[in-house]
């Protein structure tokens, strides 16, 4: 393996924000003397991403994901730490560096609102100095893969969100970037568009070896795409590894959902399995009919049959479901409790 695509050591970003004083008196004082406060958005993170990897970057809102991405793209200047992407220091050699990366911000457009899609592409061709032949070849490939044929001559403002996002992806790839940064690329899209974007990204990664780093709140993106997950909380990396390992480490074992025939006294159910390291809980609000309970087995060695045997004696059972730990639950738990 050659040089890593992204190498980050002890990266830190601190913002200074003004802190207004309260009340009218405070506002008047603020006119002459503003109080500043520093907020650490990214706190000494280390990251090493080899070429050709698809890395998912997840965390709650405000965890520092976007700030990290913006430092990796050369938009923000880090407060301290070293950062090297594709052999460049992004904020120092910005103009040369961005020539070899592609960026999509799900919430902002990089296309020109008033122009037709193809006009935007042509302008980008000039901005990135792509030769006419390379451009045509690349464009044809992207149009084909992302089914953009009908969209090229439409003004950007008349595209639906899904159509626009496909165009944004194409726009970010016209200059054959080695690294692609995606900041919430599937935000607000329907399932069909999401899955077509996912398979497209997989193809790009496989065929061109494009390194992809994406932030998302949709864990299905992660499951479909990422060999590696980095989880961020309050500016610190709290998990870095494969998705399977995440499930294993934080999955908290299997759980069983039991629907009784009648309302059952919760205490009785709790008691029946005492000593078996099983935790009972009520299911989420929308499933709560008063008859359904869920039990999580913290110990892998406890047989499910043992639990059921004890519960069956209490009341008739209408339905049983054995639940595999799913990523969403795991991540929700981590967000809520921390590691």
């Amino acid at each position: 393996m050659s040089k890593p695509a992204i190498r980050v050591e002890q990266l830190k970003k601190e913002f200074r924000v003004t802190k207004p004083r309260e009340g009218l008196r405070g506002a008047v004082i603020d006119l002459f003397n503003r109080r500043e406060q520093s907020v650490v958005a990214v706190h000494d993170i280390d990251l090493l991403i080899p070429q050709g990897e698809i890395c998912g970057y997840i965390g709650e809102n405000g965890a520092g994901k976007s700030t990290t991405i913006k430092m990796l793209c050369g938009i923000l200047v880090p407060t301290s730490g070293t950062i090297e992407v594709n052999g460049y220091v992004p904020f120092k050699d910005r103009e040369k560096f961005v020539q070899e990366i592609g960026v999509v911000f799900g919430q902002r457009s990089q296309l020109w609102w008033d122009l037709g899609v193809i006009e935007s592409f042509r302008l980008l061709r000039k901005v990135y100095r792509v030769g006419e032949n390379d451009f045509q070849k690349r464009l044809n490939e992207l149009v084909d893969r992302l089914a953009l044929g009908d969209l090229l001559n439409r003004p950007v403002r008349k595209l639906s969100l899904g159509q626009r996002m496909r165009c944004e992806l194409a726009a970010s790839l016209l200059h054959q970037p080695k690294i692609l940064f995606l900041d919430e690329p599937t935000i607000g899209l329907d399932i069909l568009v999401k899955s077509s974007i996912r398979s497209f990204l997989m193809e790009m990664n496989r065929e061109h070896g494009t390194t992809i780093m994406l932030t998302t709140h949709d864990l299905q993106d992660i499951e479909a795409l990422c060999s590696r997950v980095v989880m961020l909380d309050e500016g610190k990396i709290i998990y870095d590894g494969s998705l399977d390992q995440l499930k294993e480490q934080f999955g908290g074992g299997r759980s069983v959902q039991v629907q009784f025939e009648h309302n059952t006294l919760v205490e009785n159910v709790f008691e029946s399995t005492s000593g078996l390291s099983a935790t009972w809980s009520k299911p989420e609000a929308q499933l709560d009919d008063g008859k359904t309970l869920r039990v999580t087995l913290d110990d892998v060695n406890v047989p499910i049959s043992e639990i059921l045997e004890r519960v069956v004696k209490l009341a008739g059972i209408r339905d049983i479901a054995i639940l595999e730990p799913n990523t969403e639950d795991i991540v929700r738990e981590i967000y809520r409790k921390g590691v």
């Binding site: 003004t18 976007s66 050369g74 938009i75 200047v77 990366i101 960026v103 902002r108 008033d114 100095r129």
Partner: protein, 264 residues
């Protein structure tokens, strides 16, 4: 690289063309501005034939030229920048392999060029039919004048860029921009030629960059004073372009350290 910048100029020019009503109203506004100024100054002159070494005809010519120059050098780059910084679309600009300040400059140039060709030239023709505007017929004067107006554009745009960059330091710069606009219009000699200012104010203004934006080029073309030579105008303008480059570049670099992107 210049291909991209050239494309940006062309695009802005095209966008200006797409709004037809703007076009016609632009010419009318231009003629009204000159007309209003003409009648105002006619009233000020009253029975005087000369004020501060200028005849009423010279004054009218000066004003017409000053407004023509303004239509080229004027732009809203400061406001555009402030919007881009505040709504976070600056992030997109920063991931492209070009210089943001240059991009803004080019957009301003495209806008100025279209306004000059579409508004000022026709507006000037309309104005010279209606009012006693006496334009020189010496082509060399016009060539020099165009060069001067280009430098006026650079100067004014640099001031605008510096003002726009203030968004990084002040959260809201609307007030600052209004102040800047009044200062540029007044101190550059667009509203009142510098020779009309009282002695002390005049000597202060001669040490500021604003006179090089309107007063010097317009005086040159209006042939109002003998001692304004083309060389002198170019020299002052070039000195200020170089002089403003220093704070502009410095502020841009320090602003990048402070850059924060709003809205996620």
């Amino acid at each position: 690289m210049w291909g991209a910048y050239g494309e940006l100029i062309r695009l802005r020019f095209l966008i200006m063309l797409t709004y037809r009503v703007n076009y016609y109203s632009g010419i009318v506004i231009y003629a009204i501005n000159i007309g209003a100024n003409y009648f105002l100054w006619k009233a000020i002159y009253g029975s005087n034939t000369q004020l501060a070494d200028m005849t009423i005809a010279q004054m009218t010519t000066y004003l017409a030229i000053a407004w023509m120059a303004r239509s080229f050098y004027f732009n809203n780059l400061d406001r555009e920048m402030s919007t881009e910084i505040r709504d976070g679309s600056l992030a997109i600009q920063m991931v492209r392999p070009y210089n943001y300040l240059m991009v803004k400059m080019m957009q301003g140039f495209g806008e100025g060029l279209s306004r000059f060709v579409l508004f000022s030239v026709p507006g000037m023709i309309v104005a010279s039919l209606l009012f006693p505007v006496q334009l020189t017929k010496d082509p060399l004067h016009w060539v020099f004048f165009l060069g001067m107006v280009f430098l006026s554009f650079l100067l004014n745009s640099m001031i605008n860029l510096i003002a726009g960059l203030m968004t990084f330091y002040l959260e809201q710069i609307e007030g600052l921009l209004r102040l800047k606009r009044v200062i540029v219009d007044l101190f550059s000699g667009l509203l009142v030629p510098l020779s009309f200012f009282p002695g002390a104010a005049k000597s202060v203004l001669e040490w500021l960059p604003f006179q090089a934006i309107t007063y010097l080029p317009a005086s040159y073309l209006a042939g109002k004073t003998i001692n304004v030579s083309a060389g002198h105008v170019f020299l002052v303008q070039l000195l200020w372009v170089t002089g403003l480059m220093v704070p502009l570049v410095w502020i841009w670099h320090s602003a990048r350290q402070r850059l924060f992107v709003q809205g996620g």
